[in-house]
Amino acid sequence: MHDTRRTRLVLGLLLAAALALITIDYRDGTASPLHSLSSFGGSVFGSAEGAVSLLTTPVRQLAGGSGSQAKIASLQRQLAQARAELSQERLSRAQSDQLDRLLRLAGRGGYRIVAANVIAAGPAYADTITIDAGRLDGIKANETVLNGAGLVGTVTAVSAATATVLLTTDASATVGVRLAGTGLIGAVTGTGKSISSAGLLRLQVFSGSAQLRPGQQLVTFGSADGTPYVAGVPVGVITQVEDAGSSLMRQALVRPFVSVASIGVVGVVVAPPRTNPRDSVLPPPPAPASTATAKPSSTATPKPASTATPGPGG
């Protein structure tokens, strides 16, 4: 049956079905029968991704140890090191380092978190990831996701054992921020793939008299009830001030503290801190300055399934 009338009929039906699905999803996202289809896909493919990622996480971790800015020399050094220590033990030690940094950051801010591993990533035009913790671990939609370096994103969809995280670098993500040390309020929006240096954010400060300069740090301003973003999470550093062409607004490019390529272990904030941590969670600036002493990280509740335990023989 090369191309019969029946084939064309089926093609027409399939195309109509696809267009109908798109229309239904476009019109009412979560209130449609498609929602149950998506949550079905979420549980089935989520568990499959979790199983497969046990095998594939080493591949991504070896490939994704550093950002794209790393120099060839350091890459070669890393390659030699990776060859020398190519074992599950080393990979789980890298993960436990990440978990350690995450717990320290969560302890400084007083965030109560659930730790999770990244198990899958979205297509080229979208910056989304899947993590291996879901509704059963107490995660709900619109909760803040962070790692040891700062803000990662927010939870957009939850299935039983997995959750989808929209990264701050996605073009549809907007986060309210405050310039550290000042009261200036603004918003950062992901640039997606629209500028050549990937992974940057664009800051807009709604004040014509605001003085922006490279090196200033940003923390999240915080939303009501801590959803979708809790207050005080480090976001990034201003790298370049742009001319917005408007006297009502200042604009700048921001390099996030979190590099998308190296996200491995993340924490989902399930309860915001009782008081706003202000700037205390920020990493120390280049000039010597003391940061707030880390509280014991007992407020954090790491997921037992995450790989904090050393590998066999380690």
């Binding site: 079905a17 979420g42 979205g122 979208a126 989304t128 390529a261």
Partner: protein
């Protein structure tokens, strides 16, 4: 029957590899090859338009509902269904030269990538802007073209192996008549050894085909 199961398993594997490995790899250029699209096109080239569009629709739908997809449900189903149909049609009219299936595959994959970007833009996906497409599309096309020959090679080899197995089973019971549906595709493994040679099939089902398959069937029966 065996082929349908193989296609389903291969699509599922491609989706999982795409989501858990390829999308997360920090490849230069910030894009990754679209393994699912490539597989759909390769299956369509070997299996014809009906198989291509069905594979494309369901693989696309699975990709639409598998986390962490954030686009509208149905976008990939639409694009992959069309790409599979086009590849199946194109596969039916290929000559015997080796470059022709590869060229058809490159063409359909490129068309699918471009259509995917167009559909995203059409439905107002905030990540799909002209400048984003300008940065992503050439890079992902480049990776796709790198992967295409290997994917086609594997698909032709596996479908030749599956058809050989079907021949071996069917031939024992009902004779070679059962081979014809399996041979309806456009590109077949015409080699008699282990490594398949990519060549467009002859005009009539069975030309230059039964001999090689018969040998394979004999081997399969022996082992």
């Amino acid at each position: 029957m065996g082929r349908a199961a193989l296609v389903a398993v291969a699509s599922l594997a491609a989706i999982l590899i795409q989501l858990t490995v390829l999308n997360g790899l920090p490849l230069p250029g910030g894009a990754a090859p679209d393994l699912v699209l490539i597989l759909v096109v390769a299956i369509a080239l070997t299996g014809g338009p009906a198989e291509g569009m069905l594979t494309g629709f369901f693989a696309g739908l699975a990709l639409d509902i598998a986390p962490p997809a954030s686009h509208l449900v149905g976008q990939s189903a639409l694009v992959f269904c069309l790409a599979g149909y086009a590849a199946g049609r194109l596969g039916g009219s290929l000559g015997r030269a080796t470059w022709q299936p590869l060229g058809a595959m490159a063409l359909c994959t490129a068309g699918g990538e471009a259509l995917s970007a167009m559909v995203g833009m059409l439905f107002g996906d905030p990540g799909v802007t002209w400048s984003a497409v300008g940065h992503v599309l050439p890079v992902s096309l480049g990776y796709d073209l790198l992967v295409c020959p290997f994917a086609l090679y594997v698909v032709v080899a596996v479908s030749g192996w599956a058809a050989g197995g079907a021949l071996a089973r069917g031939g024992a019971r009902r004779g070679p008549a059962r081979a014809v549906p399996a041979a309806a595709g456009a590109i077949r493994d015409t080699g008699t050894g282990r490594s398949p040679r990519l060549r467009a099939a002859a005009g009539r089902p069975g030309d230059g085909w039964i001999g090689g398959a018969g040998q394979r069937a004999g081997r399969a029966a022996n082992t």
